[in-house]
Amino acid sequence: MVRALRTENLKAALNERRVLRGVSLELQKGEVLGLIGPNGAGKTTLVRAVAGLIPHEGDIFIDEEPVASLDRRERARRLSYLAQGAESRWPILAERLVALGRLPHLGPFMRPGAEDDAAVQRAMERADVMAFKDRPVTRLSGGERARVMLARALAVEAPVLLVDEPTASLDPYHQLQIMEVLRGFADEGRSVIAVLHDLSLASRFCDRLALLHEGHLAAFGVPGEVLCDANLEKIYRISARRQKGERGEIVLPWARL
């Protein structure tokens, strides 16, 4: 297997409080890596550190190259980031918003070319937003808007996609749809890191899970191992009901401990 991304002893602080206390993990090509853990475990901080949004200690490698050696635009071409609850401040047409994903590929006075148009088209088809490409994003429903935002992140066509709670505040249909899009993206040889709270979705759609707890990597491996009763009890402080699915496992949080 080929590594797409690797962090080594990654540390980061949020409001001067240390949130990430040395996390080393790796992401393989073609893999969906689920980032799970209780609130405040450092999931978002980890994603933001990898995306280059906050200062951090420790090393991050993309394709075995240290990110510190990449300039901003190169890093933006290799790593696409979708913020939690991303919104547009202006009522931009959906297609134009998706096209913003091509900005890292445009030189200072270059206009978007045929290649950029094709990437935007592919991203919109993949996220199933072609139907409302000519509508202002602010007038779309929550599920539609979330897909447009995802299409924007896909349009970068970066080898690595970071998504922070992509399924938050979506109905079950749209949650499944988003997860399927991410799965399909990874199946083409790209890699995804997704922050998730739904353990069943994480189990079903992710190849591996990284379980964070108080800024440490508590468990890292295939979903079946990471979501064991011991981890749920110790870290989530819950017990769960389980049922084997065709792929992965239904893990239904049942009782607080």
């Binding site: 933001r48 280059g52 949004l53 933006a76 696409s80 202006w90 931009i92």
Partner: protein
Amino acid sequence: MIRSNLKLNLALALLVAAAFAASIAMGRGGTFLTDAFREAYALDPETFAVILYDIRLPRALLGLFVGASLGLCGAALQGLLQNPLAEPGLIGASSGAALGAVSVFYFSLGGGMLGLPLGGIAGAALALGILYALAGRNPSLTTLILAGVAISAFAGALTSLALSLAPSPYAALEIVFWMLGSLADRSMEHVLFAAPFMVLGALIIASTARALDAYALGEDTATSLGFNPASVKARVILGTALAVGAAVAVTGVVGFIGLVVPHLVRPLVGHSPARLLLPSALAGAALTLAADIVVRLPPTGLELKLGVITALLGAPFFLYLVLKARREAAW
């Protein structure tokens, strides 16, 4: 896939050209140059040339540059702050510039010809710098406006202090009139020393166009798209300080152009912050030139002040925007 706004920009450029020509042709009380001065030219070509080159042309050029600067800076600030209520005047840049210029003027800080624009620029930069420090990374609507009000009030108070300590009442009156905002009775020298700063400011702002588009998705996403947020903010602040500072230093405070113009143009460019820049500059120039023609119309021979007219029209418009924003998002 994406149409350019060539037609819109051409139409606005024509509008600017027409307003520019009208500004040169239109005299006080609404008399047109063509008839009255055809005779004047026949009688006295020298006076005609003086009126044209020393009075009308500088005025029209200032209207062009100042209006374009205000429109452009308004559009850029709205894009950066992701907020349709941002404007050089509302966030304190204009009053900061006025204070800077008054300080130079009044305390004879010198600097020769460049003293006034430099003072204006320093004042505007200081005001915007303080605003950023006060409002933080992603200022909310309320924080932004309150911080702007505080800065404007403080700069205004300091300006008043300078005036009340003025050695001569006539000089104080002159400053007060100057601060009301007007393009009248400015010379070609005013144009020549302010224009380079405005052009430089505009070029710096133009360099942020793509980044402003990315800012539509918030600062984090813009950063993840390869833009350096510190550099983008610094460029917008520096560009606005240069352009608005120089504009205020020669014309006084002409408010609300930077608020109204981007708002009117935005729907025509599909709400894209980058595409908004050029049409806002053009529309700002056209609106300022037009408003400057309106102030000459009263037949009494006593001109209204341009800044008074723009505030009379702009302030209710601002109120309308605030009410609209409140309906759309409770804050």
